[in-house]
């Protein structure tokens, strides 16, 4: 329940951010820099006088958008590879799963760092990098589900009645995959938020003045001594968002079929 509450508040804040009559998250106001929390600035202001509360809410919007984009990207790759591998089988399966094994052994953040380093700094590049490394574990699960479904008798009978491959995949195999995907996706959002905020924190992603939690942490580094609040607030925001999605994902997993699940990571 706590998970649902955290996720819903994040979603609401993210969706409504532009209409909440908040201060402009990027407007610089030097006379009001590093103010402590007050009525006008509930969480104070940062080193450029920007309202921290507004930046956290807008940052949540940015974080959500980034996580969803990454999720969509990695799921598309995972679905394609998993279904092709499980359905086609044979040499293609061996080759694809060989690549998957190789990538699984590799630390994902370092891989994403290498991809982001190759593409150059920028939020979009970070999303591409995260999406490009995040699909690997899921492809394996989707392959296993596809493989199981393919051997079902209803798939056999569909084939006998003359259904083509595409039709069999869409009508008879896909419904089996939806359950696991929902669970994987919800468990994943938390990890993706952590990863993307990490890359942004390292300075590879969102560039100033974009309000983004990881970038806000990075921005606040010089003010560790004078205004630790500026580090603690985005840190807490990331933590609560990740905790929310993890709790929600755990709940969904218990609710739906637990058989095909693995620990993500």
């Amino acid at each position: 329940m706590l998970g649902l509450f955290l996720v819903v508040s994040l979603l609401l804040g993210g969706l409504l951010a532009p209409w909440l009559l908040l201060d402009d998250p990027t407007e610089i106001n030097l006379p009001e820099r590093l103010l402590s929390p007050s009525m006008t600035h509930p969480l104070g202001t940062d080193h450029l006088g920007r309202d921290t509360f507004s930046r956290v809410i807008h940052g949540g919007r940015m974080t959500l958008l980034a996580a969803i984009t990454t999720l969509a990207l990695s799921m598309t790759i995972a679905l394609t590879v998993g279904i092709v591998s499980g359905y086609h089988g044979g040499w293609l399966d061996t080759a694809l799963m060989g690549i998957v094994d190789l990538l699984l052994a590799f630390p994902s953040l370092i891989l994403a760092l290498a991809v982001a380093g190759a593409l150059g700094p920028g939020l979009l590049n970070v999303l591409l990098a995260a999406g490009a490394v995040w699909w690997v574990g899921h492809a394996r699960i989707i392959r296993a589900v596809t493989l199981g479904a393919r051997q079902m008798e209803y798939v056999m009978s569909a084939r006998v009645t003359g259904a083509g491959n595409l039709r069999i995949i869409l009508r008879h195999i896909a419904p089996n995959i939806i359950g696991p995907i929902v669970v994987i996706a919800s468990l994943d959002v938390g990890w993706i938020i952590l990863g993307i905020a990490g890359l942004n924190f390292l300075g590879l992603g969102a560039q100033p003045p974009t309000p983004e939690w990881g970038a806000m942490l990075n921005d606040a580094r010089p003010h560790l001594q004078t205004a630790p609040r500026l580090l603690l607030i985005p840190g807490a925001a990331i933590f609560l968002a990740v905790l929310g999605f993890n709790l929600l994902g755990d709940g969904l997993r218990d609710l739906l079929d637990p058989r095909t699940m693995q620990t993500p990571g």
Partner: protein, 318 residues
């Protein structure tokens, strides 16, 4: 065992070739001309002319076709030469070697800390399933898994270095300087290991031979430590390779925060400046390390668990 080891060792070069080729292709497919990036790094004040860029391309050997460049790189890498950094113009291999020790120290300390906490608590949590201790431990694991290492690191710095002044916040060299980074790095693997150990202990405690041991009249303590623990720890050995990966990923961030002069700092700097030879050398180096650790973990698992030696030879997966 011998045949297994040979088979595994034989696939290593293939895997390495695959990884190095992939990272090579990635860096070369990326937008931007490395020669131009180098010139801009060395002289940020002015844009390089196209003649300068062309000269630099030849100097860096970038004028050759890609397959030629790649074979050149591999044959040099086999001789231990990973090229030179575009930025510092130092040999990549020497930089990697110099930075390995700090990272190894940090990850070893963090892993030891994680195991020291996770093993006893995971076992207790499983043995007293449903107790308040179990509830607290599970909650702590959930919270620990969600805590971003970077936020945690700053929390530790603010508390122990800024407010209490107990420990140094930054730097490298003394044991005291290692406490905070190791603690920040160990939390995530600690939480995951605790969940893993708890689950594995619970599964083991439900086995028939445990019931037999209990029926023999052995004390619960003897059953848990003498019979169950040995099997319950097997997945932990199997997961070591994976956890090394997590630790290395985490070290990238923790090292940056604590100005720890390790591999993580090197790769972040290289990624930010697009220092391709360093990124390429680093990826290959980490691949070697991770593959070797996975191999050692698998072999250790086979030594510890004779069942695997006669089974279908499948790898442990989680």
């Amino acid at each position: 065992m011998g045949a297994y080891l040979i088979r595994r060792l034989a696939t290593l070069p293939l895997l390495l070739l695959g990884i190095s080729a992939a990272s090579f292709a990635l860096l070369n497919l990326a937008p931007g001309d490395p020669a131009e990036i180098v010139l801009r790094q060395r002289n940020p004040a002015q844009l390089p002319s196209s003649a300068e860029v062309a000269a630099m391309r030849i100097e860096l050997g970038l004028d050759a076709p890609l397959p030629v460049q790649y074979t050149r790189w591999v044959s040099r890498a086999l001789a231990g030469d990973l090229g030179q950094s575009y930025v510092t113009e130092q040999p990549v291999a020497a930089q990697l070697a110099r930075r390995t020790v700090p990272t190894a120290l940090l990850t070893a300390a963090a892993l030891a800390l994680a195991l020291l906490v996770a093993v006893p608590i995971g076992i207790l949590s499983a043995r007293r399933r449903g107790s308040s201790l179990d509830a607290v431990a599970r909650l702590a694991a959930l919270v620990g898994a969600a805590a971003p290492s970077y936020a945690l690191a700053y929390g530790l710095i603010i508390l122990f270095a800024v407010k209490l002044s107990w420990l140094p916040a930054l730097g490298y060299g003394s044991a005291a300087q290692m406490i905070l980074p190791a603690a920040a790095l160990s939390l995530a693997p600690m939480a995951q290991l605790m969940r893993l150990i708890r689950a594995s202990m619970l599964e083991t405690l439900g086995q028939d031979y445990i019931r037999t041991a209990r029926a023999k009249g052995l004390s619960e303590q003897t059953v848990a430590t003498g019979h169950a623990l040995r099997n319950a720890l097997l997945p932990v050995i199997g997961a070591m390779g994976v956890h090394l990966g997590y630790l290395l990923s985490g070290a990238v961030i923790v090292e940056t925060i604590f100005t720890w002069p390790g591999l993580g700092q090197l790769i972040v700097g290289a990624a930010l400046t697009r220092d391709y030879p360093v990124v390429q050398g680093f990826v290959t180096y980490i691949a070697v390390v991770v593959l070797l650790v996975n191999l050692v973990a698998d072999v250790a698992l086979r030594v510890a668990d004779p069942r695997l030696r006669f089974g279908r030879g499948e790898r442990f997966r989680f």
